[in-house]
Structures are given as C-alpha cells and as structure tokens.
C-alpha cells in the first residue's frame, strides 16, 4: 500500500501503555484522598419483597461510622435511558426486585467498621412471589414486578417491512428454529469502584465509565444537582464491553455518602458484587423463520425474540433492537417482521454487551447453513448472495455508504483457504462462517456528536481537549495519533485532556462504536482548523502562497520548494504576538435521521456508517465426550482504514476470546434468583491455553465520512465470532444445536435428540 499518511495506519505504540506497564496507571480503586472513608452496601437478600421498615440507628451509633444512607436520602428520581423507561430508583425505596439490590450504604473509617455497621442495619422485608423465567413472567397471573409493565413486558419493539406473509407463502423453502443462550458475565477484570468527593457544592467522581458526559447527566438527575456541579473525572478503566455504559447504583450510593459525610468516600465492589449487582448480559431466546428462493435469495424473515431484562429497564429499547439491527445491516431482507420483547424478571440488572444477541445471531447464521445445505449451496455463497452492498438500504432504511459484506467474506475465506479447508475436513472437524455489520454510533439526540478543542502552546506543542473516553481499547492514543497526523508534530508533543466533564465537551462515549468515527472526526476537524490558522500566519510571515504550505516534522514546509521552511513554534509565537493564539474547535455530528425512535419509529438512517465483518472458525468435536475445541480462527473486519493497525488487531483478537471461545463455556447459572457463579472460580473465562491460533484480517473500505477513512475498530468480530463457532460445530456434527453455550452436556444432548428424532 502506498503510504499517504505519516502516522495513521502504523503499528504505533499506544501512548497510554507506558503508565500501564510500570504500574503507575491509576484505576479508581487505587485512588486515595485525604480523610477518605470506606463504603459498603447493604443488599437485598430477597428476589422480590416489600420493604416495611429500615432502622439505621444502631449502625449510626457504631464508633467510626460517618454516614448511613437509604432511599430516604435520595430524591425519589428514577433512572432510565429514555423518559418512558425511568423505573430504577438505584437505591430501593419500598420494594426490592432482585437479590443484591442496593438497600443502604455505610461510610466508615475502615472496611471492618463499615462491614460491622451493615450487620447493625435492621431491614424488615415482606417477601413477595417472584418470577425468574421471562416466558413465565409474560403469562397471565404471573407476579407483576412493576405496575407500569403489564405482563412484565418492559419493551416491545415491532418492525414490519414489506409483505411478510405473502413472501413466506411464495417461498421455495421455509425453516423455523428456536435458539437460546443464557446470560453471561462481562467479567471486566477491574471490579466496579467509585470514589466520590463533595466540597463547596461540587461533586467530583472517579468511576469506571464509558462516557463521562452521559454519566454526569444521569447523576445530576438522580441527585437533583445542576449538571455543572457534577464532575466526572478521567480515570483508567479496566475493561468495559458494555458494562460501564450506564450509571450504576454504586454511583448514587457513594455520592450520597460523600455528600452526607462531607468526606471523600471510596466504594470498591468485590468480584461477586460486581457480577451480581452491576450489569449483566441478557438471556435471549430467539425464534427465527426464514424463507428463501431456489437460488438461496432470502425473501422473508420473521423473528420473535425474548430478552430476559432482569429487574429494571436499563438500555431497554436499545438492547431489544441491536441484535436485529446488526443482522439487517449485513443482509438484504425485502420482507421482515421483528418482534422483540424485553421482559422484566426478578434477576439482576442487564445492559448491552459487546456480543449482545448471541442466540439470535448464532441462530440466524446456523439456520442459513441448514438452508444452504438443503439447497446444495456453499455457506459462503449464500452469504455473499444476500449480503448488502454499498448504495443499498437496510430493511429499515439506512443507506450503506462504504464497505459491504462481500469483501470481508472473500478476504476471510481467502485467508482461511475456505474451500480447501472445507474439502479436507476429517471426521469430527467442522468449519463455519459468521457475519454481521455494525452501526458506528446511533441516535442519541444532541449527544450523538462530539466536539474537540486544540491549542498550540508556545513551544510549538499542542494540547487537545476531547470528551473521548478510553476503557481499554486505545481511544486516547487514537485521538493523539489523529492530532499528530494533522498537525505534523510527533505524538510526544501532544498532551491530551479527555473524558473530564469539567474540561471537555460533549461526546457520545466509548459505546455505540462512535469513538473513532465521531470523536475522531471532531479531533481531526479541530486540528485542521488549527492547521489552517498556522498556515495563514506562516504564509504572511514567509511571504509564500498558503496553498503550497504544509506541516511536517514540527515545521512549516513548502510542498514544492524543500528550502522554504520555518519552525512551527516561530509561527505559534508570532500568533501570540499578534494577540491571536492558535486555538481551534472542531465538531462532528453524524448524519443520522433523528426522527428515528427505537420503539415508535424504527425506520430511517440509524448511523453515519457501518462496519462489516466475517469470521471463520474451525472446530474439532469429540462425539464421545461432547467436548469442542477451536484450534483455528480467522477474523476479517472492515474498519474503513485502521488508525492504529495493532490496536485494531488487538480488538479483534480480544473479541475472539469474548465471543468465539466464550461460546464453549460462558454462562451465568441461577437458582431462585440467586446467581450461582458470581466469582472467577465458578465462572470460567478463557485463558491463554484455551485460545485458537488467530489470524486477524483488516479490511479497508476507506469510508468517505470517517476520519482518514476510519469506521470502528473491531466490533463486528465481537458480534460474529460466536456465530462462526456455532456454525462450525453444526458443520462438524450435522445436527441442530439450539442451546448455547456449546458445553459438552448440551452437545451430547443435541446428538442424542438427533439420534432419536432423526433430524439432520
């Protein structure tokens, strides 16, 4: 490839990595402030109960206890992402709806005292009938968990495009299957923690978050404080994957304790609390019906998907829709009906996940393979045939401006030697392919855009100020790299101020895949404006036409005359002299249809652009034990154009772990509303020895809107790796696999069912 860029597209060492390899990078739990107190939370021992009375008087009398808070100290405001989903008080008022729900908080001089104080709080509960299975919860007569949701249906998303029933009637072949995947734990390696400090009417917060601006807004609502008095500060975040997008009950409890005690307060959750009381992954059951023509063209799709939403709304409407969207963004559906139901149960709160929708996505792709087999088609061929291309619209009317599904499929297949590998499979081996496309950003009103400031300092170095947030993927480094490219100065000349609501401007945050496409664009525009200012001063000072000037190696250079140049800092100083320091703002708002609404109007442009991806997995299956292994994996992801090639690969490789290997084992297990495997001994996450050989393939579609052509850095792999593995397992075994994850017991069950049922 010809190198148009100096630093974009290189394997640059991430700017945040020095602090991390030396142990100097601070995470929330590492912070220590003067007079800081330790917080602990009293949690509900019931899945569903009325709170009759809370007596904190004994706890308050314990020496060393500085504050106790309950809902009486909160302001009766409920949290929900949308006006119509505000149902979560974050600290229980008169009812608890899941085991582990926050009931009271204590701040004390040390951990022992705080723990002792929890034992002294007397809560009188009246247990209520509870319901744990979403299908049960939807039945007439099931215990009603919130008055406002009849049949416990929290959200119903209905999408209808074309003439679905007619298309099924005319289809050459119709298949209907149901797939189920239980919930999972995000298992970010950093357990949740909050530090809150309140002084002079201002609340400062350090908390693992994926978007400080949305977090501050939520807390200002919950605390009834003006937004400018709630300051969410930048802090390193030990992984996110969807779990840190939203405000968490711990944020409210810790803030209330800091306000009440007048001291900084730190809450650190245990691993078990992190799994039980922060967000979890939705359990999903998807019934999928597909009609095709003789040539494999998909003519009709119908979906009924039930999401176990746990006790509260969370990102409800979004979570109920995303699995469908990342699928319709990949394939052409002329006629489609989608009914997604998010159902309230007496289980912990749920959120979005990097690989949200596994049963739906894996199920769709496995069913496509079953259809391909009946039609005598190659799984690759049927995917290419139905894949969306540039210029086409998705079923719900989003235009694809770059990429398309075919190239990632072809490149993944080429890397994996798809045809040869398939032909050469031995007994017990299988190969499969999974595809999705992912929106880069989605409608969040005026919060969908990002703004950046840049100032040039008197030594010719730059400071950029952006709301971009880094939860581990390298967004900070990405912002600096973009600034370096535009300003022609090395990354070490650039200081970053980011993710701090006091200093930075609005940004959608590190979810919805907007960081590089939206935030990166704002950084680029701000730096371009600064560059324009520098060059116009330089043109005057050097007496040279501005069109022929450029910035390179800290120098203003002529594009045509190598002798014509001047150090950039001279120009910057000149600008100071003239009272016009180099400072600029840049903003980017993606081209989204803001009439679009998740439930009421799910049609129109969803996002500025879409990334496409295809994963190929090879598995081996032991038919005796049901044990599956994944020895080989290819992930092809269309990131538009990589800003940092190594960082994009890293996202893809991590995605193979979280979806492609997780599908063999990861699941949360429950009994009567109790999470049975909240710790890392019982909930086993993949280790180095479990990983396949991974070949990441970066696909470049050079997006016309993205900064330097970039889209997002790896989410398609997170969304399709699961599918690739279940398809490979299906290929190896030749029987439907409807229950995920593919643990040995489930595999053996599927084999036995096929033996007795004769299903192929």
């Amino acid at each position: 490839m010809d190198r148009e860029y100096t630093i974009i597209g290189t394997r640059m060492t991430r700017t945040d990595s020095l602090a991390k390899v030396t142990g100097r990078a601070s995470f929330t739990a590492d912070l220590k402030l003067p007079r800081m107190l330790c917080a602990k939370v009293l949690r509900s021992p019931h899945p569903h109960a009325k709170i009759l009375n809370i007596d904190t008087s004994k706890a308050l009398r314990l020496p060393g206890v500085r504050a106790v808070v309950t809902a009486a100290d909160a302001h009766g405001v409920k949290w929900g992402v949308f006006r119509y989903t505000q149902d979560h008080p974050m600290i229980a008022v008169d009812r608890v709806r899941y085991v582990g729900e926050d009931v009271a908080g204590v701040a004390a001089v040390d951990e022992e005292t705080a723990m002792e104080a929890l034992d002294l709080i007397q809560v009188d509960y009246e247990p209520l009938p509870a319901v744990f299975d979403p299908e049960e919860a939807m039945k007439e007569g099931a215990p009603l968990i919130h008055e406002e949701y009849p049949n416990n249906v929290n959200i119903h998303v209905h999408i209808e495009v074309g003439k679905v029933d007619e298309a099924f009637a005319r289809a050459h072949l119709v298949r209907e299957d149901t797939f189920h995947a239980p919930g999972e734990a995000y298992s970010t390696l950093e357990p949740y923690a909050v530090v809150a400090s309140y002084a002079n009417g201002y609340l400062d917060l350090w908390v693992p978050n994926a978007g400080p601006h949305v977090r501050a807004k939520a807390l200002s609502n919950l605390l009834k404080m003006p937004l400018n008095k709630v300051r969410v500060r930048r802090i390193n975040v030990g992984g996110h994957f969807g779990s840190r997008s939203e405000v968490s009950p711990g944020d409210l409890v810790t803030s209330l304790l800091a306000i009440k005690s007048g001291c900084p307060v730190k809450l650190v959750l245990t691993r078990e609390e992190n799994a039980t009381c922060t967000r979890q992954v939705h359990d999903i059951k998807a019934t999928i019906k597909t009609g095709v023509n003789k040539d494999g063209t998909i003519t009709a799709k119908e979906f009924r998907v039930v999401y176990d939403g746990g006790a509260y709304s969370s990102t409800g409407p979004i979570a109920t829709s995303i699995p469908y969207y990342v699928y319709e963004e990949a394939y052409r559906f002329p006629n489609v009906r989608y009914d997604g139901y998010r159902v309230i149960t007496n289980k912990g709160i749920r959120g979005m996940y990097g690989c949200h929708g596994r049963a739906f996505l894996g199920g769709n792709e496995m069913q496509l393979d079953m259809i391909a087999r009946e039609l005598g088609m190659d799984p690759m061929e049927i995917r290419i045939k139905n894949g969306l291309k540039v210029g086409e619209e998705t079923a719900t009317k989003s235009v694809i401006i770059s990429g398309g599904l075919e190239e990632p499929i072809r490149l993944a297949a080429a890397k994996a030697n798809w045809a040869e590998r398939r032909a050469g499979l031995k007994e017990g081996e299988g190969i499969g392919m999974g595809c999705v496309a992912v929106m880069c950003g989605f409608p969040m009103g005026f919060r969908s855009g990002s703004a950046c400031y840049v100032k040039l300092n008197d030594d010719g170095q730059a400071t950029i100020v952006t709301g971009i947030c880094d939860t581990g993927m390298g967004n900070e480094s990405m912002a600096i790299q973009i600034a370096s490219e535009v300003l022609g100065i090395p990354v070490e000349d650039i200081n970053l101020v980011n993710a701090d609501t006091e200093a930075t401007n609005l940004d959608p945050g590190a979810y919805s895949q907007a960081a590089s496409f939206v935030g990166g664009n704002a950084v680029k525009r701000a730096c371009e404006e600064a560059k324009r200012q520098i060059l116009s001063f330089a043109a005057a000072k050097m007496n040279h036409p501005v069109e022929d000037l450029d910035l390179k190696d800290r120098t203003v250079v002529s594009k045509t005359d190598p002798l014509k140049k001047m150090p950039m800092r001279w120009i910057v100083r000149e600008a100071f002299f003239q009272g016009k320091p180099i400072a600029a703002t840049g903003a980017y708002m993606p081209k989204i249809d803001f009439q679009r609404e998740w439930v009421k109007n799910p049609y129109g442009q969803m996002a500025g652009t879409y990334s496409f991806g295809c994963s190929v997995a090879q598995v081996t299956v032991d038919r005796e034990t049901g044990q599956i292994r994944v020895p080989y994996f290819v992930a092809a992801h269309d990131c538009g154009n990589p800003i940092n090639t190594m960082a994009v690969e890293g996202q893809m490789e991590g995605s193979v772990l979280q979806a492609g290997v997780a599908v063999l084992a990861e699941e949360t297990r429950w009994s009567q509303g109790w999470l049975l495997n909240p710790d890392l001994l019982e909930y086993k996450v993949p280790l180095a020895c479990d990983m396949p050989e991974i070949e990441p393939v970066i696909v470049r579609s050079n997006d016309p809107e993205g900064p330097f052509g970039a889209k997002e850095g790896g989410l398609t792999t997170r969304m399709n790796a699961y599918s690739a593995v279940v398809c490979a397992a299906h290929n190896a075994l030749g029987v439907p696999l409807n229950e995920f994850p593919l643990t040995p017991d489930r595999v053996l069950k599927a084999l036995n069912a096929a033996k007795s049922g004769g299903e192929s």
Binding site: G23, A29, D679
Partner: protein
Amino acid sequence: MERFKVNFQVNGEPVELDVRPSETLLETLRDRLELTGAKEGCGLGACGSCTVLLDGLPTRSCIVLTAEVDGSEVTTIEGLAEGEKLDPVQESFMEKGAVQCGFCTPGMILTARSLLDRNPRPTREDIIRSISSNVCRCTGYKKIVEAVEAVSSTETPET
C-alpha cells in the same frame, strides 16, 4: 488485636511492619505501602491480577498473608524498571501492543519476567502454559504471547 512483626524486602528496600494476622500481602502492598500496581481482580486466587514475585516466583498476593512473607523478597511491578530504564518485558509489552486496559498487565509482566528468569528460551507452549495462570479479558492473549517470545529471542540466555 494480635499483631505480628514482619521484616521483608520490597523492591530491594527493607520493610518492617506490624500486621494483623489476617492481613494479605496485597492489602499490605496497596493500602500500607501505596504500591497499587498489583490489582485485586477477584480476591480469591483465580485471576492473577495481584501477582507479585515472592523470592522470584510469581505469587498471588491476595491469598498470601503478610505474616507469612517474613524474611522474603517481594518484587512488584513498581520495582521492575531501573529508574527510567524499563525491563525488556515491559518494553516488549508496549511495542507488541500487549496492553489494552492494563488491569492484568502488572501481573502478566511479572509472570513473564519470572518465566524468562527461570527459562530464558521458553517455547511458545511454555509461554502459553505459564501465562495461563493469569486472566486477561481484553487482548485474547495473542499479543502477550508474542511480546514474551520477542524478549526471549533477544535476551541472551545464561550459560
């Protein structure tokens, strides 16, 4: 409450402390010595994010009592670099992109350092086996393995 007097070395410096019998080495390092490079990912020996070197061997400091380390030598991530000069493992983790969120990184680096000290030319399988004691939720381990391999091929093995 009963206390124990403990003497040990941390990153080459002698430390003398009175500790509670139940105090873990991780608590001592993080809360008393302000060495927060070792992280608490699980608190029960499952994840390796609290790994330090105890007399050169990777050890989960969340399940070791400080009272037990009397007379030992503890190395934490803060003690690995010599001033500004990074250990080759630290450098390699940076260069190879083996660091994402960084929460597992101190434990991973110390585990790898100890492996290379004991076995300067490990095979890929040796590396995978060794770091399989530690969880990383972000990287998929590929670049961590590559980072360790790169060090082993540049460091001259002792003869």
